[in-house]
């Protein structure tokens, strides 16, 4: 039987003969496969290609021509007004998806984004209408109110989870029902502002509490936005790019840096990947769950503000609902990555905005868009799972290539004790 020492020194020799060449950052190595980068690009592209292909088959199946349908979606989507609509649609979707993604990173399923943002929007709109202060501060108060309400509404499931182990899926769904009913009740009974129109709505937020639009930026990079003259003689722009887009971008950046570049972000990710390993590494599970859920709630509180601060200036019956649930889908397709979610939110924005053209042009019912979105979610999940497995297999192969000079563990020869 050979000496184990000799054995391991031999393997040291083999290891040294290989030694990876690390650059200054310690990242680049001689054995990095170029296809590693390939995978990262391939997966989102593959998702979209497969989803579009499947959508084409569905269109064919219902007797439409997918080529002409795509052409009319394409040409309608490229119009300036459509691009503004797409961005306006993507903004709240992005915020909702980031809210969901923060939870996902720790394996927490915040289904309650829906209730959190609707309640937050109502209360923030009401608070905004009741005060009248210096403009930037006014907007800030509204934004902070919305975040606080979102946090407060998620705090109940969060506390139930860490103290009593109540599963957040159950409790956040309950909180959705309570929140949405509460909004309806209080809006109808207490906060309804009598107006000439039949709309049930809160009082208007004064101009100081409104978010300026980004139309000047649009006009800078594109042509002038169409203007119409109202009967009153006032000239207004026909579409507006909501200012909250900037907030969404900032939230995305903060999310990215928080999750990837800070210790609490690392704690959240570690807790999501391996709760036990995280705990022995000093990550307090309860505190981290609370942090992640409260942050998710805070971002969720922002979801309703783009349209309130950018278009309506009040909370009324026309307020867009279901964004919380769409956010789950967007987070899934975007794989919880700040950039990926942005792309997914834009993609959903495109589909939502250009979908109606299918109906108008007589290609297909508008519902085909819902089918495409559903297909895309499935495709994304499958493609990412397959890609992950392939990548792991490839890296394991690489790792074993390094081990090709592996020490053969010498066979322990046990004497028969008899």
């Amino acid at each position: 039987m050979s000496d184990p020492n000799q054995n391991s020194s031999m393997s040291n020799f083999w290891f040294r003969s290989w030694r990876p060449s690390t650059d200054g950052n310690g990242t680049g190595t001689s054995l990095t496969s170029p296809s590693q980068v390939g995978w990262a690009l391939l997966t989102p592209v593959a998702t979209i290609v497969i989803a579009v292909f499947l959508a084409g088959i569905i269109l064919l199946a219902i007797g439409s021509n997918p080529i002409t349908a795509a052409q009319s979606m394409w040409s309608s989507g490229l119009r300036q007004e459509s691009i503004i609509d797409i961005l306006n649609r993507a903004t709240p979707l992005y915020l909702a998806a980031v809210a969901v993604a923060i939870g996902f990173r720790m394996n927490i399923f915040n289904i309650g984004v829906e209730g959190q943002y609707i309640l937050a929007a109502l209360i923030a709109a009401k608070v905004g209408a009741e005060i009248n202060i210096w403009a930037p501060l006014h907007v800030l108060v509204i934004v902070l109110t919305a975040m606080a309400v979102g946090m407060a509404w998620v705090a109940v499931p969060a506390i139930l989870k860490v103290t009593r182990g109540v599963h957040e899926v159950i409790s956040t769904i309950m909180m959705n029902a309570i929140g949405v009913s509460f909004v309806a009740a209080i809006l109808l009974q207490r906060w309804d502002e009598p107006t000439a129109s039949l709309n049930t709505k809160t009082k208007d937020i004064p101009p100081s509490g409104r978010m300026p639009d980004l139309n000047e930026i649009v006009e800078l990079v594109s042509r002038d936005i169409d203007r119409v003259q109202l009967p009153s003689g006032q000239i207004i722009e026909t579409s507006k790019l909501w200012g909250f887009l900037m907030v969404a971008i900032i939230v995305g950046l903060i999310y990215h840096y928080f999750i990837n570049r800070t210790r609490p972000g690392f704690d959240i990710r570690a807790g999501g990947v391996n709760p036990l390993a995280a705990e022995v590494a000093g990550v307090d599970p309860n505190r981290t769950v609370l942090t992640a859920m409260l942050m998710s709630g805070a971002v969720a509180g922002l979801v309703g503000l783009p349209e309130i601060l950018g278009r309506d200036y009040f909370y009324g019956l026309q307020f867009t609902q279901q964004l919380g649930f769409s956010g789950i889908a967007v987070a899934l397709v975007g794989q919880n990555h700040a950039g990926g979610i942005a792309l997914a939110a834009l993609l959903f924005g495109v589909l939502d905005t250009t979908g109606p053209i299918l109906d108008a042009d007589g290609h297909a019912p508008e519902e085909i868009v819902t089918i495409i979105k559903g297909t895309m979610i499935f495709t994304a999940i499958i493609v990412y799972a397959v890609a992950r497995r392939k990548r792991l297999a490839e890296q394991a192969r690489l790792a074993s290539k390094v081990l090709s000079a592996k020490e053969r563990p010498d066979t322990p020869i046990a004497e028969n004790p008899a």
Partner: protein, 543 residues
């Protein structure tokens, strides 16, 4: 590599010699060179095994030694990467358990595979209905029911066939599983840790059934790591260690102590010259520590997982904790890490009372930790190596500044250094941790802890499930750290590791420290008798 050829040659397993005087018996199943690899682990390597008709054959080995994988291969749940299975003289290739069942192999899993809301009878016929439903239509006893009743009476398996499965005790459910396998025509029955779920009386009953079955010509292959049980029931015993079959012995020719030695391995760590580097400075002290099973309950009213633990570790000292698994080692480690809150007592580290400190405070005050299960507790498997480098130190320099901002590039550079210094074989620092082999994962963990210059290190089973080369490297690092003044608490099931590395040995039994031994004087066999409590029946050497 000239050496490797020699090693392979010398590695050929002399299993033939082990089957002394057995030539006359009929071999029902033979495994030849079974090898099974998973990403990061070699579960089985070159396993050779012969099983005779009508015998009760035990496969024993430590947790993670590869016993269950081996059984799954025989039962067709997983194909072997290499090697062959010869059943009654012909080589077989099972693609699924169905193939194995058709060839007369049955298996009772550790976690039962039964349907809760069905009756016992329905559970037994489920998936093998044959004429069962025809029988139901006739409203009489079906042929299958008669057949099952006959099986029950032959093997003394008394179960009410019409009872709802929900109402059955664990032991009864196990019987249902056994009948199920027999009903499917099993001639070879595999039992995966059958006694782990049973109380002693039920174990006796099970053994009775097993003997009955063997006497009727059935062959039984069972997994167990409780040595007294193995010796009580098995005819022959195969010991699996680190995925290899190290020996097959007849029950009459082996003692529990010898079996334990085979299980944990008998290579002593290379005896290095032990310089006395101990100082008198106590770095870590545990006093009167109690831990109740029911968190928050007063110590008297609840079962104590840890009872009145007292010990101190001095600078440059390795204190080994020896004990049979499940005697409180895991709880002790968790209590010292602050994951479990102690019921009473105190823990002091470097002069600070850390009893009420959080896990993070402890780890950031340089309490290093090598977890007993690197996959469960030590690594973020899908995350890249450099992120794993931070784990446990994510608030410390150079990985973070101010305990808040992380520095991926500095971490990658540190990880690259670590890979170099601790000989972690990896293509680069960006591969996910699960792409590495077990030994390399463990070297990364050791590197991660050692790089942070801990003052006290808790090392739980630091060499479990890794190959000998890596094991040697880990031991070397621990020795060097000790010489540099580290205080180490070493928890291990490997007696040779404990004896070879420790300066002092503490024996833990049922949550209490029952003996303090000098590793220079104790033999593995003696240590084993302390660990099982056998020693105290003859003499009292309580500390």
């Amino acid at each position: 590599m000239a050496g490797s050829a020699d090693m392979v040659a010398s590695g050929e397993w002399p299993s033939e010699k082990k089957d002394q005087g057995a030539g006359a018996r009929e071999v029902v199943i033979e495994l030849q060179g079974i090898t099974k690899r998973f990403p990061g682990v070699i579960a089985n390597e070159d396993i050779n095994l012969k099983i005779f008709k009508g015998e009760i054959h035990a496969v024993c080995g430590e947790n993670g030694a590869g016993k269950s994988t081996l059984m799954k291969i025989i039962y067709g749940m997983q194909p072997p990467d290499e090697g062959s299975i010869v059943l009654n003289g012909t080589e077989v290739h099972f693609h699924s358990p169905k193939d194995a069942i058709d060839s007369g192999i049955g298996m009772v899993h550790q976690h039962f595979m039964l349907a809760g809301y069905l009756s016992v009878l329905e559970n037994i016929v489920l998936g093998a209905e044959k004429d069962f439903y025809r029988g139901l239509l006739k409203r009489g006893k079906s042929k299958s029911q008669e057949q099952i009743e006959k099986l029950c009476s032959i093997y003394g398996l008394e179960v009410d066939l019409n009872a709802n499965l929900e109402t059955l005790e664990v032991g009864q459910r196990q019987k249902v599983e056994i009948i199920k396998a027999l009903y499917r025509g099993a001639e070879i029955l595999i039992l995966d840790e059958p006694t782990s779920v049973l109380v002693p009386q039920e174990v006796e009953e099970l053994f009775e059934t097993m003997r009955e079955m063997a006497s009727q010509g059935k062959t039984i292959l069972f997994i167990d790591h409780k040595l007294d049980e193995v010796l009580a029931i098995a005819d022959r015993i195969t010991v699996v260690r680190a995925g290899r079959s190290v020996a097959t012995v007849n029950k009459d020719e082996v003692t529990a102590g010898e079996l334990a030695e085979l299980m944990i391995g008998s290579e002593l760590p290379t005896p290095e010259i032990f310089e006395e580097v101990e100082s008198d400075e106590v770095l870590f002290q545990v006093e009167a520590l109690n831990l109740a099973a029911d968190h928050g309950a007063p110590a008297q009213s609840s079962k104590l997982l840890l009872k009145d633990i007292n010990f101190a570790i001095r600078q440059g000292e390795i204190v080994g904790i020896a004990g049979v698994e499940g005697n409180g080692q895991a709880e002790l480690v968790e209590a010292l890490l602050g994951v479990r809150h102690v019921t009473s007592g105190s823990v002091t580290m470097c002069g600070d009372d850390i009893t009420d400190w959080s896990t993070r405070e402890r780890r950031e005050s340089q309490l290093g930790y090598i977890p007993e299960d690197r996959h469960e507790m030590g690594l973020l498997l899908p995350s890249p190596l450099w992120e794993n480098t931070m784990l446990g130190h994510q608030g410390s320099e150079p990985y973070a500044t101010g305990g808040f901002w992380l520095h991926p590039s500095a971490t990658k550079a540190k990880c690259a250094e670590m890979v170099k210094e601790f000989d972690v074989r990896t293509p680069n620092v960006n591969v996910p941790a699960d792409a590495l082999s077990g030994g390399n994962q463990q070297k990364l963990i050791i590197g991660r802890e050692m790089t942070m210059n801990p003052k006290v290190l808790i090392a739980a089973h630091p060499t479990r499930g890794i190959d000998i080369g890596a094991q040697d490297a880990v031991w070397e690092k621990l020795r060097v750290a000790r010489q540099n003044g580290l205080a180490v608490l070493l928890v291990s099931a490997d007696l040779d590791e404990l004896i070879g590395l420790s300066d002092r040995l503490l024996v833990i039994l049922r949550g209490a420290i029952v003996a303090e031994l000098n590793p220079a004087e104790v033999t593995p066999k003696e240590l084993g008798s302390y660990m099982t409590g056998a020693k105290f029946e003859t003499e009292s050497s309580m500390v």
